[in-house]
């Protein structure tokens, strides 16, 4: 690669926190009030707003979007508009089209289909777009990707290799349940003996996902409509320094049904050097009682594992 021809733009080394989109079917009022509080109190730089799991939920949130976006922007937050993870039909596409006509916001692509609609303008990609290697990174950058939230399963070696190469800003999820799979089938409806078309919005009953355990009673996954999430919360608070040393400076917090203001503050304090990671890990454990944390994907082992300080924190 001819470095002289195209000097590499160094990403801002000032660490940035992104709040990912709410993945769960919270009540519309809870959803709105959550974002209002984030706007007013959370030390995050960027907030993703939009339904990424099931379009059937969107009509409930949609009436509140304008005021949520306005409140966030008035508070100085950058708003990113998130889009569906699995785009199949015209309605799904229309939802992306409706979002992409507004060129004042960054759109986060979660299905390749959205790229067709965003041709020629800068975009971001979410963690469910498969960016595993330099070839894909390079291609998407040439097509306008400015920010890439990497797949949650990438180990440190891959993250470091991508960071060495990237011109776009890279982001890694450092907090929250890990998005493990998406399907056309609604497992929430199925668990309740219902069909997706007559789901009665039962996913709304589980603000942090529906627990799924093994037959011997081990907590395993959380079901969120058509999505499967980890039962553990991914937590890379002790890996932030290593990520920054690689050249990754943007970190995603995925909203859970806990005090996300305090969670964001814990990460902010570690990034600012005002709190030790291990101490922050203790804070985060107290904020999410009964939750196990995992960081195995980063360390190249089972994603469910807690390695290093997480292992001793168990």
């Amino acid at each position: 690669m001819a470095l002289t021809k195209k000097p590499r733009r160094k990403p801002k080394s000032n660490p940035q926190l992104t709040l990912g989109p709410v993945l769960f079917n919270w009540s519309a009022e809870k959803w709105r009030d959550f974002y209002f509080r984030i706007a007013d109190e959370a030390p995050v730089d960027t907030v993703c707003v939009g339904e990424v799991v099931c379009l059937k939920r969107w009509p409930f949130f949609e009436p509140f979007v304008a005021e949520v976006v306005e409140r966030l922007e008035s508070a100085g937050k950058e708003v990113v508009r998130s889009t569906l993870s699995l785009i199949m039909d015209a309605r799904d596409l229309d939802s992306v089209r409706a979002i992409s006509v507004d060129e004042s916001h960054f759109v986060e692509v979660n299905d390749v289909a959205a790229l067709t609609l965003l041709a020629g303008r800068p975009f971001a990609t979410g963690p469910m777009v498969n960016v595993y290697n330099e070839g894909t990174l390079d291609f998407l950058e040439r097509r306008g990707a400015k920010r890439i939230s990497l797949p949650v399963e990438l180990p440190r070696a891959s993250l470091a290799a991508l960071a060495r190469q990237s011109k776009a800003e890279l982001e890694v999820q450092v907090y929250g349940r890990l998005p493990l799979a998406i399907s056309v089938r609604c497992f929430h409806a199925r668990a309740h003996g219902l069909h997706k078309d007559g789901c009665q919005y039962v996913c709304g009953e589980d603000a942090d996902g529906m627990p799924l355990t093994t037959l011997d009673g081990t907590a395993f996954l959380r079901v969120n409509g058509t999505q499967a999430l980890s039962d553990t919360y991914g937590n890379l608070v002790c890996e932030l320094d290593e990520l920054r040393a690689m050249g990754i400076h943007r970190f995603r917090l995925s909203p859970q049904n806990v005090d996300m203001i305090a969670v964001a503050q814990a990460f902010r304090d570690v990034l600012a050097g005002s709190r030790e990671p291990e101490a922050a890990l203790g804070d985060l454990a107290r904020l999410a009682p009964g939750i196990s944390f995992s960081n195995g994907f980063f360390h190249g082992v089972e994603g469910v594992s807690g390695v290093g300080p997480l292992a001793s924190a168990e």
């Binding site: 390749v112 067709t116 595993y132 291609f139 493990l180 997706k196 093994t214 011997d216 079901v223």
Partner: protein, 329 residues
């Protein structure tokens, strides 16, 4: 008589390749014996010499060969994937089946004459997504994700100038393919980069109180009574507890069989039918390919499909039409 649908058949080994060719395959698909293909199970697939011979054997009999290079190259080490594409081209493969955007870009630039198919692992589930791969890489055919209804497939065929290939028989994909890291979460091995879901190296069975417990990594995937058939503990086919109920929450142990839908698939504008099963043996391949050969030819003549019961070959001896019927959703 209409043009018969192209019958695309699995070749997990050179033996299966010969069986598929003999049983009437129009096309076989296969992969190299490494992590560059999504069926990287022990004992399967082709070394360089076998693959070259396999292509020659098939071509001599007028059968096409598609080489699946359909995992995602690992950052820092694209070499094995690039070599797989280069060698497939050099050996005269009729097309390569790719999933990764970066690898498609490489193939397009390095081998402009090589025909590219988009793997199901790319999860291109809409006309716009397929159009992206067509526009950017000149993809000629897409293997459609097993999430679409026949009406949706027809709509795609009306919209994009790309051939479609659909699964008609074999294991069911429950999650959007290429976008599922459940197995990785439990085993540390990514299906997307290593090419194997629920790897045998992480499967074990324990007998507890007269019942058989099947595990993947540290997690119990199923518990079977003595009289129940023992299935392979593929993660998404397991039995779990949710809402206080024990069930196969993601999917019952069942197989896709769309043989009754061939006329509908023809009407929907589908070009090719794919039989899943590169991990299956010679007898299975011969039987299934033979049955589908007769059915495809009958459908092309507008005749009723010949009766043949494939149920004995399906997982759990039960069949589903999968997402082709919306009731599955």
């Amino acid at each position: 008589m209409s043009k018969p649908l192209e019958l695309v058949c699995p070749a997990g080994t050179p033996t299966s390749l010969r069986a598929a060719v003999e049983a009437g395959a129009d096309t076989v698909y296969l992969g190299f014996r490494d992590s560059t293909n999504a069926r990287n199970f022990p004992g399967l697939n082709f070394n360089r010499r076998e693959l070259e011979d396999g292509i020659a054997h098939a071509h001599d009999r007028g059968v096409k060969v598609l080489v699946a290079v359909n995992t995602y190259p690992e950052a820092g080490d694209p070499g094995p994937w690039h070599r797989a594409v280069d060698d497939a081209a050099a050996f005269g493969a009729d097309a390569v089946i790719l999933a990764d955007i970066g690898l498609a870009d490489y193939a397009r630039r390095t081998h402009p004459g090589l025909r590219l198919h988009l793997s199901v692992q790319a999860s291109a589930s809409s006309a716009e997504s397929i159009a992206f791969y067509h526009r950017e890489f000149g993809i000629k055919r897409v293997v459609l994700p097993r999430v679409l209804t026949i009406a949706e497939i027809a709509a795609i065929n009306r919209t994009v100038p790309v051939e479609t290939e659909v699964f008609v028989f074999g294991a069911m994909g429950i999650m959007a393919e290429g976008r599922c890291v459940l197995s990785s979460y439990v085993t540390g091995q990514s299906p997307n980069t290593v090419g194997v879901c629920s790897p045998p190296s992480h499967v074990h069975y324990e007998e507890v109180g007269g019942r058989l417990v099947s595990k993947l990594g540290a997690f119990t995937i199923d518990v079977l009574e003595a009289e129940e058939p023992v299935g392979y503990p593929t993660l998404c086919k397991g039995r779990f507890v949710a809402c206080g109920r024990t069930s196969h929450l993601f999917e019952d142990p069942t197989s896709l069989n769309a043989i009754d839908m061939l006329p509908e698939l023809m009407d929907a504008g589908v070009t090719a039918l794919k039989i899943e099963g590169r991990q299956r043996g010679r007898a299975y391949v011969s039987r299934v390919v033979g049955v589908f050969r007769r059915a495809v030819d009958a459908a092309a003549r507008g005749e009723a499909l010949p009766p043949d019961d494939l149920r004995a070959l399906t997982e759990g001896q039960s069949e589903t039409a999968g997402a082709y019927r919306r009731t599955w959703h």
